[in-house]
């Protein structure tokens, strides 16, 4: 986390730098079927974040050592395109994208009915073409929409959203400037129908009260995002 409280990010009326209130989300759009050659796909914009996710499979799992006799495996990749950031991102795997790929896989394997496809693999390819802040949340949320678009059975979709703290005030869905000066970040992966969690990370400094407040913001935001996801999927079916 950056410089603690040295820049005023919330005005006296409680408005944030982009005019949002503390619990407001950035603008979100969701579209399915955006990668015509894939089995399922999703494009999600969230503020100026943009993620494109393609699903391939279930398909033969190779190399054979990754096969599981009783279930499918998910092959999840998260990657940022070289032009997605202010300073060009050098192509190729790095430690950050490896970790995000792994926690995204762990979250999605918790909801996909893997036992229906023994010895196979399902590929989930997440590409961030424009990054603002919160790309792991955009990637995970878009991935569950893409899995649904591909007709992969799941117990629920995962909605991922983060809340954090700036100038000692807890706010939902930090944008890039807020993230740079933020004091904490709490991304969660929520199953909207049960309120259960499949993904949780946190860094920064939150009191117990602030933590509960951030948690609550995420839970409420998840419901709002979930209805947009359902709407996008229904729209896709009508086409």
């Amino acid at each position: 986390m950056g410089g603690y409280g040295d820049v005023q990010m919330i005005d006296e009326n409680g408005k944030r730098v982009d005019g949002r209130g503390p619990g407001d989300l950035r603008e979100i759009t969701i579209e399915t079927g955006v990668v015509p050659v894939a089995d399922g796909s999703c494009r999600m914009t969230w503020g100026t974040n943009e993620a494109i996710v393609a699903i391939y499979g279930p398909m033969e799992a190779h190399p054979r050592k990754i096969q599981r006799q009783d279930r499918a495996v998910l092959d999840v990749s998260y990657n940022m395109a070289p032009f997605s950031t202010t300073d060009r991102m050098r192509p190729g795997f790095n430690r950050r994208s490896r970790e995000i790929s792994k926690v995204t896989k762990d979250a999605l394997e918790s909801v996909v009915l893997l036992e229906l496809y023994p010895r196979s693999k399902i590929r989930v390819n997440i590409e961030i073409v424009s990054a603002e802040a919160g790309t792991r949340c955009v990637g995970l949320t878009a991935a569950s929409v893409a899995l649904a678009d591909a007709g992969i059975p799941m117990t629920d979709m995962v909605v991922s959203v983060a809340s954090g703290k700036i100038n000692d005030i807890v706010v939902c869905d930090l944008n890039k400037e807020e993230d740079n000066y933020g004091e904490a970040d709490l991304p969660m992966g929520i199953l909207p129908n049960s309120g259960d969690l499949v993904f949780l990370q946190m860094d920064g400094n939150l009191s117990q009260e602030e933590f509960s407040e951030a948690w609550q913001y995420n839970m409420e935001a998840a419901q709002a995002i979930h209805s947009k996801m359902v709407e996008a999927l229904k729209g896709g079916m009508q086409q």
Binding site: V34, V35, P36, V37, A38, T48, E50, I52, V53, A54, Y56, M59, S77, N79, A81, P82, F83, S84, T85, T86, D87, R88, P91, G92, R123, N125, I126, E127, V129, S130, A131
Partner: protein, 259 residues
């Protein structure tokens, strides 16, 4: 890239179609797919474009970095062009270090743009011998249904033509438009069912043979050629596609320049 099994039925079907001058998606031999071209679509890039040709979709993004000029060319900046085809773009593309196919893609597009001289590398100098702009053109595939070459080349030149050099962000002056003096355009041809067709789709690439890429500049000058994959072609066949490319590049150039 894993090479998918080529169904011999597909090859036979393409040959049958070719006998009656037909194509698998009912196009004319020289007809391109529906084209969509947009620029300035990526908020973090200094220049960008999105191209859709049928079910092939690509992005191009331009970024700038400050480099130290090479000691033998102290007054020149640089141009770098790289292509990435990640697994998102199709089931036969795999993760890992750049494949030979994607390196070829990047290099062929790079040559067409570089050799046309449309970017004046002298104008990229900031302080001779110390600071110059490096223009980095990144080509990124979203959906591969054939002919990534033309899609990349078209997205690349469109992104460059709509780029702003970020002098202000690097605190070396005022932002200004990147000067692109001409519009090199690539046309690609695939041997399918024994004869060349323009703008092959994914299935035509799968069941076809060699391919030829031609980049022409504003005055029909030839800036890059590439023959790829196994196959033999005659001088007459080449003359025929060169004639078509002279017509087609003019049409495409008009579209790029009208944006």
């Amino acid at each position: 890239m894993t090479i998918p099994l080529v169904p011999s039925l597909l090859r036979a079907h393409l040959s049958d179609l070719a006998e009656n001058d037909g194509r698998i998606d009912n196009r004319d031999r020289w007809e391109g797919r529906d084209l969509e071209l947009q620029h300035s679509v990526l908020p973090r890039a200094e220049g960008s474009a999105r191209v859709r040709m049928g079910d092939t979709i690509v992005f191009a993004g331009v970024k700038f970095q400050i480099m130290q000029p090479y000691s033998d060319r102290p007054n020149q900046g640089g141009l770098m062009c790289s292509a990435e085809v990640r697994p998102v773009a199709g089931r036969h593309w795999e993760a890992g270090p750049p494949s030979a196919e994607s390196i070829e893609l990047g290099r062929v597009v790079d040559r067409g743009i570089r050799e046309s001289g449309c970017i004046d590398v002298d104008s990229l100098c900031i302080i001779p011998g110390e600071k110059a702009w490096q223009v980095i053109l990144d080509l990124f595939a979203i959906s591969d249904d054939g002919n990534l070459f033309d899609a990349f080349a078209l997205a690349g030149i469109t992104a460059l033509k709509n780029s702003v050099i970020p002098y202000e962000r690097f605190e070396v002056g005022e932002d200004r438009q990147l000067d692109v003096s001409s519009t090199p355009i690539m046309c690609s041809y695939h041997k399918v069912g024994g004869r060349f067709v323009y703008d092959a789709s994914g299935r035509e690439e799968l069941g076809g043979d060699e391919r030829i890429h031609i980049t022409l500049g504003d005055n029909d000058n030839v800036h890059s050629l590439q023959k790829g994959l196994k196959g033999i072609f005659s001088a007459d066949e080449f003359t025929e596609i060169m004639e078509h490319s002279m017509k087609r590049t003019k049409e495409l150039r008009k579209i790029v320049e009208s944006l």
